[in-house]
């Protein structure tokens, strides 16, 4: 009897903790839906009887957030597509081909994941400035510069993680395909690629989140061309010395969180097992 009661108690605590953890998110969405008078109020209520999309409308139409949202989507999508392609090719090479220096490369990949990328802001700023002189689309103030850095930062982990997925495909399959007359290229794209697709999905979600959430590099690279800002940096405009527009801040935060949340929920199982696999090696 006492065991059942203690379990019930544990379950009540669990639900309360879950509510507390979710509360900030609830508050964010709620505040985004509240009419202006209820937000700038010294008597905030944890509910509203007059939900409105005013804040969203203000954010999207007046402040040009549709543009920033699109910028974020473009950067994140480009990073995902390119990192998918590059990491798949590299993972195939690192698991299926035998060549000298492979172990060294693997160790370097592991070390590369540990580089504190934030420390590289300064040299990357100058690098992008020089790149911009040659290829303007990848220079400062352009979305291309953000794509480049996030691609570089997400690749080591993506390759490392995909390596596991590629290795899980039995080598016998490749031999069977070769005996049946399929070239290596054909095997890679028509058999291996679809087989490791689940792994690619999990990997690309991480790359997406990485690029989507970035604040530091967007702030450093996109200096004067404000139309090329991405969401995290653009929200800063609502902070005014006199009074913050909390309704707009919460609405844009919601806009920023929803895509990530959707991705997370879609792939959470794969993500968790993938992370576990990556942590374990």
């Amino acid at each position: 009897m006492t065991r059942r009661r203690s379990r019930l108690l544990a379950e009540i605590v669990t639900v309360l903790v879950a509510a507390a953890v979710a509360f900030p998110l609830y508050w964010m969405v709620l505040s985004a839906l509240k009419p202006a008078g209820e937000i700038q109020s010294t008597d905030p209520r944890p509910w509203t009887w007059a939900p409105t999309l005013d804040s969203f409308e203000r954010v999207l139409t007046v402040d040009g957030f549709a543009r920033y949202f699109l910028n974020s989507v473009v950067v994140a999508t480009a990073v995902v597509a390119l990192s998918l392609l590059m990491s798949f090719l590299s993972a195939v090479a690192l698991t299926r081909f035998r060549f000298r220096g492979r172990t060294v490369l693997l160790v370097m990949l592991l070390v590369a994941q540990m580089v504190p990328i934030e420390a590289l802001t300064i040299p990357l700023f100058f690098l992008m400035r020089s790149v911009g002189d040659v290829v303007p689309a990848f220079g400062l103030n352009e979305l291309g510069s953000l794509v480049l850095v996030h691609l570089a930062f997400s690749l080591p982990f993506a390759i490392w993680m995909l390596r596991g997925f590629v290795a899980a495909v039995p080598v016998e399959l490749e031999e069977a395909a070769r005996i049946d007359g399929a070239s290596r290229l054909r095997f890679t794209w028509q058999i291996l690629f679809p087989l490791v697709l689940p792994g690619l999905v999990a990997t690309s979600v991480l790359a997406f989140i990485h690029a989507w959430n970035d604040f530091l590099f967007a702030k450093t690279f996109i200096i004067s061309k404000t139309e090329n800002q991405t969401l995290p940096q653009a929200i800063l405009v609502f902070f005014k010395p006199e009074e913050n527009d909390w309704g707009a801040i919460m609405a844009s935060s919601t806009l920023m969180t929803v895509p990530v949340l959707v991705f997370f929920v879609l792939v959470q199982r794969r993500l968790v097992s993938g992370l576990a696999g990556a942590v374990k090696g």
């Binding site: 639900v15 903790v17 900030p24 590059m86 090719l89 035998r98 504190p116 420390a119 031999e175 097992s273």
Partner: protein, 321 residues
């Protein structure tokens, strides 16, 4: 770990020795082709900037030099010596370490405690907890920072209203971001909120991976629950706990977004600076790129020593061939 094993040791290719060398040569060429795109990018946008970071830190690199209007003056280690002489650097370093320690201990404690809790309840409450944690995990750092700021806002925040309602009259209009420690505390809460889920999920998987028989055998032998927890479960979770700890140290030591957003660039008079933000401010606000780079190098070296631990803990379970 209970989750699916994703990386079994790759099976050996059944190539007879005579063919092996020939294949190896051909493999090398295709491998180079497959690796080229990633290699070019990583060399250019990761390896080269690391080298450049060190180079910049050795020069007097200010506004004029960055614009190309003045010749570069090689300083050697002068930027570093200057840094070490500054009181502010040591204060920031101490605050960074303290802040990171609070965040690491907080997320490990919360994450592990909730993992234990989750392993002892039925599916529905557990699912609710995991969903909530997933939400916190997925929230972008910027969005999370704003929500926490709003909750703790001096005038319109829920927290102050609740506290005032409970009889703490002084709390109405209280600014949480003004004081050094309350600002750090607020940021730490946000950081713990979004980083405990990783610990929780990892530790939960670890707890689930412990076979029931082991725990049963211990309890049959008369071991009490606290004893089972400390003498059986904890040792089995140690490798995972180590990885979660090191991962958290790496994350929390270089928190940038939350500090920058929540304390508005490092707090009043820079008293909420951490190394990362300090380097950024030195370089991009103060136009002292050389100084900023030197801070970056110091930060990298500190993290590298933690990384060495990480690699060592990984090497045991990772097969690199």
């Amino acid at each position: 770990m209970a989750t699916r094993e994703l990386t079994p040791a790759p099976a050996r290719t059944a190539v007879p020795p005579a063919r092996r060398t020939r294949r190896r040569g051909r493999d090398g060429r295709s491998a180079a082709l497959y690796l080229a795109p990633a290699a070019v990018l990583l060399l250019g946008v990761l390896a080269y900037p690391i080298y450049q970071l060190v180079v910049i830190s050795l020069y007097d690199y200010g506004q004029a030099e960055a614009a190309g209007n003045a010749p570069l003056v090689f300083l050697g280690l002068e930027n570093y010596a200057d840094l070490l002489r500054r009181t502010q650097f040591w204060v920031v370093l101490a605050k960074t370490l303290g802040f990171a320690a609070v965040c690491v201990v907080g997320s490990l404690a919360v994450g592990t405690a909730l993992a234990v809790l989750a392993s002892r309840v039925r599916a529905v409450p557990r699912m609710l907890l995991f969903l909530a944690a997933l939400g916190a995990w997925a929230t972008p750092a910027v969005a999370g920072s704003y929500v926490w700021l709003f909750l703790f806002d001096a005038d319109f925040g829920l927290v102050n209203e609740v506290l005032a309602g409970l009889g703490f009259d002084g709390m109405a209009g209280h600014s949480w971001t003004f004081g050094t420690y309350s600002a750090f505390g607020l940021v730490a809460m946000e950081v713990i909120w979004c980083s405990f889920p990783f610990v929780m999920v990892t530790m939960y998987a670890g707890i689930k991976g412990i076979p029931d028989e082991v725990v049963e055998a211990a309890s049959l032998d008369g071991a009490s629950w606290p004893r089972i927890a400390t003498a059986v479960i904890l040792p089995m979770l140690r490798p995972l706990l180590l990885i979660a700890t090191i991962q958290s140290i790496i994350w929390d030591f270089k928190v940038f977004t939350q500090i920058y957003v929540m304390t508005n660039g490092g707090g009043v008079a820079g008293r909420n600076l951490v190394l990362n933000v300090y380097a950024y401010q030195q370089a991009f606000a103060g136009q002292e790129y050389g100084q900023g780079a030197a801070i970056g190098v110091v930060m990298t070296l500190i993290l590298l020593s933690v990384t060495a631990l990480y690699v060592r803990s990984q090497r045991r379970s990772v097969e690199l061939t």
